[in-house]
């Protein structure tokens, strides 16, 4: 089952991490000692050897002896049970109390919920150790008091955690769906909320037990915890510290025990969290030299492309992932004439964005880009970019991204984000650059441009932010605008405005446009030509006007899968069965074969070459749809 397979891989990834293995081993060791310590070394720890009082480390006593001549190592090992037991007890108290309060807070009505949240907020602001000291006053000196104090001190943290976790679970649609079904509150709590809370709570409990251990040692060290004749690591530490000049190991022994077990708890929790959250990925490096593509050159396009603003041949992108090396972009060819507008269509994951980023040299490790040719405005973009190339790219290649909110720096004024292009590349003063920024904002028809330029992105609307992005490209003299889903995050009416701005910008500057979108109507409203991508390849290259007469079965299906205003209401939409292929396991022949109604055995064996047809476009298919159908 894929789901458990993913979890299994996460576990094995975690196991490959040396720190995780160390934490696991140490954890087992510590717990084992806590269980068995008193049984094995109990006697040795109480045996007084009056011939060697307060001795430093020796072969017989690796950590020396204490004032009564007892072996310190044995006592450290025996003390494990009490030290860890008390810490676990305190954690348990804190967890039960905290989860209870947190659950009540999240299930109660508005008033009580807000009140409890505020109380928890105030309590959480106090460091645990301080709270423990406060409570120690009330519960008194001694192990019982210390456990209670620590437990109470830990409760607010767990309460806060429970509350936030529960809030995030209850805001999920599946809880809304359950409520809409009429599932009772209690059942929702038991069936939907608690199971999704358990994992993070346990992970945090483990980490908290580690901190409790350390805190308890601190309390005992101060004389507030375990009282003689009982002993735990904290008390041994404070005794050992008195004789640190004569026998340092008397202090270092328990100190080591505290650190090791504290770390074991902390790390075990942390790695559990990473495994649960799937963060403990092992990265692998891309081998420096791998043949760009094992298969043959797939296109027959001519190799010289004079008079182009952008010319790309055999562009390949490789990325190392947990499943091995993937090739999300495989041999893309592309020519853009000056002023031409070309759209790139394709499903999610087909490699549209990566193609754009690779062309503009914005990918970074571990992504590797290779191409036989990558020229922009007469510049070879392969290899290292020098200062002149940087400046030319900065002023003549303009990028517009999908989400204008996240694509603008939230802490920098909109105008300054434009102006810095001029100060960086054109040696302008900030004054001039800012003035020009305002002027460019006006050019994208930003209302009240002067004032807007002094605002932060979150004070602008989505459409305005996208105008800022477009204006940014206008600071120089753009030859090419690459826009990756520039309108997808916007409302239809605003979408229209932004497209118009792009269009008029293009008309004024004569820049070419590479517009990436999954939306056919967006592409067809503004572009002359469309490239259709599937599984990292361009499968068809055709004029926009021919979209409905597309020859590649995939393009056909894509056009017919989404209703437009022209779609007859009584006609079924075409649907493409299955899913796009996993980039880590691409089929050998045509990547579309498993989903293609026209596929035959040739298709599953031989990858189709891109064939240019007379007059219009190119198609990579063994059995293209013919015009008559």
């Amino acid at each position: 089952m894929p789901g458990s397979g993913g979890a299994g891989r996460r576990v094995s990834d975690t196991l490959r991490n040396p720190l995780a293995v160390a934490a696991l081993l140490a954890g087992t060791l510590v717990l084992g000692t806590a269980l068995l310590g008193p049984v094995i070394w109990g006697e040795a720890a109480e045996t007084n050897d009056f011939t060697s009082l307060d001795q430093p480390a020796s072969a017989a006593h690796p950590f020396g002896t204490d004032k009564l001549g007892r072996d310190i190592l044995a006592r450290v090992l025996v003390a494990a049970r009490l030290s860890i037991g008390l810490a676990v007890a305190a954690t348990a108290i804190g967890m039960v109390l905290g989860v209870l309060v947190g659950a009540v807070a999240s299930m109660s009505g508005r008033r009580l919920r807000r009140f409890l949240a505020m109380m928890i907020g105030i309590a959480v602001a106090f460091p645990g150790l301080l709270l423990a000291l406060f409570f120690a006053v009330i519960f008194g000196v001694g192990p019982r008091g210390a456990v209670l104090a620590l437990g109470f001190a830990m409760a607010p943290g767990f309460a806060r955690l429970t509350q936030t976790l529960a809030a995030s679970v209850t805001s999920q649609d599946y809880v809304s769906a359950a409520r809409a079904l009429g599932v009772s509150r209690v059942r929702i709590l038991v069936r939907h909320v608690l199971p999704n809370l358990a994992e993070p709570l346990i992970v945090n409990g483990t980490v908290a037990a580690g901190s409790a251990l350390l805190a308890f040692a601190g309390l005992s060290y101060l004389g507030l915890g375990v009282q003689p004749p009982a002993y735990d690591w904290g008390r041994m530490l404070s005794e050992g510290l008195n004789s640190i000049y004569t026998n340092p190991s008397a202090a270092l022994g328990p100190a080591l025990a505290i650190v090791v077990s504290g770390l074991a708890f902390n790390f075990a929790g942390e790695f559990a969290a990473q495994t649960v959250g799937g963060r403990a990925r092992v990265h692998r490096k891309v081998p420096a030299h791998v043949p760009a593509d094992a298969g043959p050159r797939l296109s027959t396009s001519s190799d010289d492309a004079p008079g182009t603003v952008l010319s790309v041949r055999d562009l390949t992108v490789r990325i190392p992932t947990a499943d091995g090396l993937i090739r999300p972009v495989r041999g893309v060819d592309l020519d853009l004439a000056p002023g031409e507008a070309v759209g790139v269509l394709g499903e999610s994951g087909s490699g549209k964005s990566l193609t754009a980023l690779a062309i503009s040299r914005l990918t970074h490790d571990p992504v590797r880009v290779d191409a036989q040719r990558l020229t922009f405005d007469g510049m070879d973009l392969r290899g290292r970019l020098g200062a002149t190339e940087r400046t030319r790219l900065g002023t003549s290649l303009s990028m517009v991204f999908q989400d204008p909110m996240s694509s603008l720096n939230p802490t920098m004024r909109a105008g300054d984000q434009l102006a810095e292009v001029a100060t960086e590349h054109q040696g302008s003063s900030w004054r001039d650059a800012r003035a020009r920024a305002v002027e460019r904002l006006r050019a994208v028809r930003m209302s009240a441009a002067e004032r807007r330029s002094r605002q932060l992105p979150h004070e602008l609307s989505g459409g305005m932010r996208q105008r800022v992005m477009i204006a940014m490209g206008l600071m120089g003299d753009p030859r090419l605008i690459i826009a990756d889903e520039p309108t997808t995050a916007l409302d239809v009416t605003v979408q229209q405005q932004v497209l118009e701005v792009i269009q008029s910008t293009r008309e004024r500057t004569g820049a070419a446009l590479l517009l990436i979108s999954h939306d056919i109507s967006v592409v067809s409203s503004i572009c002359d030509r469309v490239l259709v991508m599937y599984a990292g390849r361009v499968v068809e290259d055709l004029p926009v006007a021919d979209l409905e007469r597309a020859r590649h079965p995939y393009t056909r299906a894509l056009v017919e899968a989404v209703p437009t205003m022209q779609t007859p209401r009584d006609e079924r939409l075409s649907s493409i069965p299955g899913r796009p292929p996993d980039p880590a396991a691409l089929p050998t022949g045509c990547p579309f074969a498993p989903r293609c109604p026209r596929a035959d055995t040739t298709c599953t064996i031989e990858p189709p070459l891109v064939r240019y047809a007379a007059g219009s476009g190119a198609v990579a298919c063994h059995h293209p749809v013919e015009e008559t159908s």
Binding site: G6, S176, L181, Q497, E500, S521, A557, V562, L573, I576
Partner: protein, 335 residues
């Protein structure tokens, strides 16, 4: 005939004081039994709030909602079910498909315990899923498959009406078509009543019998799909129609008069006076002289008597604009 779902003057307010937002403002809308009613509007227009109100998750500050003539019950079987936008969040990650569906059947109580397994299989087939998927966890399903399970779960509860809130917008283009086909099949097979919410007018027109258009918390036009498309009454509907997905349409076809071309969507905290659409309206006071009434008086009260219940003082075709729109890239402020 009583409607499967009937909103009467529904108002929902979020927040209080200066931050109060009337997300839904006096909306009346009927979903007749056996028909699919579409609701379009841009983000923040209140579509989802209206939907949440119908499943009791947004408290009404005014008006009423009834299902088949009865008020919504507070406990037990619920007559309104909902399918959500995000296929990832819609299913409990710790419950198998079977468990999710069985839970829904259990609450509805219509199927005896012994027959539930068979019913789960039937439901999966109904939504064109392989019954073998019943044991899968949501993580092992694709987005389209999860959305189908959500639909099956909604049907399992034997609702009077299902609300589908943007159920295709998070799906890949290639599976959207299949999802829409499914909705149409279900409607034909089981006489489904549905409120279908989407921001995409083309999608709504494809699956719905009746379309309602929402703007800033109010419904501005309602009409049978064909009529609404052929003869839109409200300028906002016309704007939506002109920007709706259409292959081969060029940008120029939907250009607006320069006065309103670059206006920003209104701030819901401070909605415009009178007709809420007036600052952006291509037939409103910013473009056509003598239409000050739009900025002063709300056209909503008389809407019932106008064609398509249009909330507009000047419904019907566009007025002849004084001169063809100049394609001037320079902003108006430069003058």
């Amino acid at each position: 005939m009583t409607a499967a779902l009937d909103f009467r003057d529904v108002t929902v307010t979020y927040g209080t004081g200066a931050q109060a937002v009337r997300a839904v403002d006096g909306v009346s809308l009927q979903v007749p039994a056996g028909s699919v009613v579409g609701l379009v509007g841009e983000s923040g227009s209140g579509k989802s709030t209206l939907a949440r109100a119908a499943i009791g998750m947004a408290p009404l500050t005014g008006g009423s909602i009834t299902a088949s003539g009865r008020p919504l019950p507070r406990r037990g079987r619920r007559p309104v079910q909902m399918v959500f936008q995000d296929p990832v969040a819609a299913l409990d990650p710790r419950m198998s498909v079977r468990a999710s569906l069985t839970e829904a059947l259990g609450v509805a109580g219509a199927v005896p315990r012994r027959e539930r397994e068979a019913e789960v299989m039937r439901l999966l087939e109904l939504v064109h899923l392989d019954p073998g998927l019943a044991g899968r966890m949501p993580a092992a399903l694709s987005g389209g498959q999860r959305q189908r399970v959500s639909v099956a779960r909604a049907i399992a509860a034997r609702p009077e009406v299902i609300i589908a809130d943007e159920i295709t917008s998070a799906l890949d283009v290639s599976v959207q078509g299949a999802m829409l086909n499914l909705i149409r099949d279900l409607r034909a097979e089981m006489d489904l009543s549905m409120l279908f919410i989407s921001h995409n007018l083309a999608v709504v027109c494809y699956v719905c019998d009746v379309v309602a258009v929402m703007y800033l918390g109010k419904i501005v036009e309602v009409g049978p799909t064909a009529q609404l498309v052929a003869d839109p009454q409200h300028p906002y509907t016309r704007l939506l129609l002109s920007t709706a997905p259409r292959v081969g349409a060029s940008l120029a076809d939907s250009s607006l008069p320069p006065q309103v071309q670059d206006t920003e969507p209104a701030d819901p905290h401070a909605p415009p006076t009178g007709c809420r659409f007036h600052p952006r309206c291509p037939q409103g006071p910013a473009v056509v002289a003598g239409r000050e009434i739009c900025a002063q008086q709300d056209p909503a009260p008389g809407a019932r008597d106008r064609p398509h219940q249009a909330a507009c003082w000047f419904p019907g075709g566009p007025v002849d604009l004084p001169s063809p729109r100049p394609r001037d890239p320079q902003p108006a402020e430069a003058t």
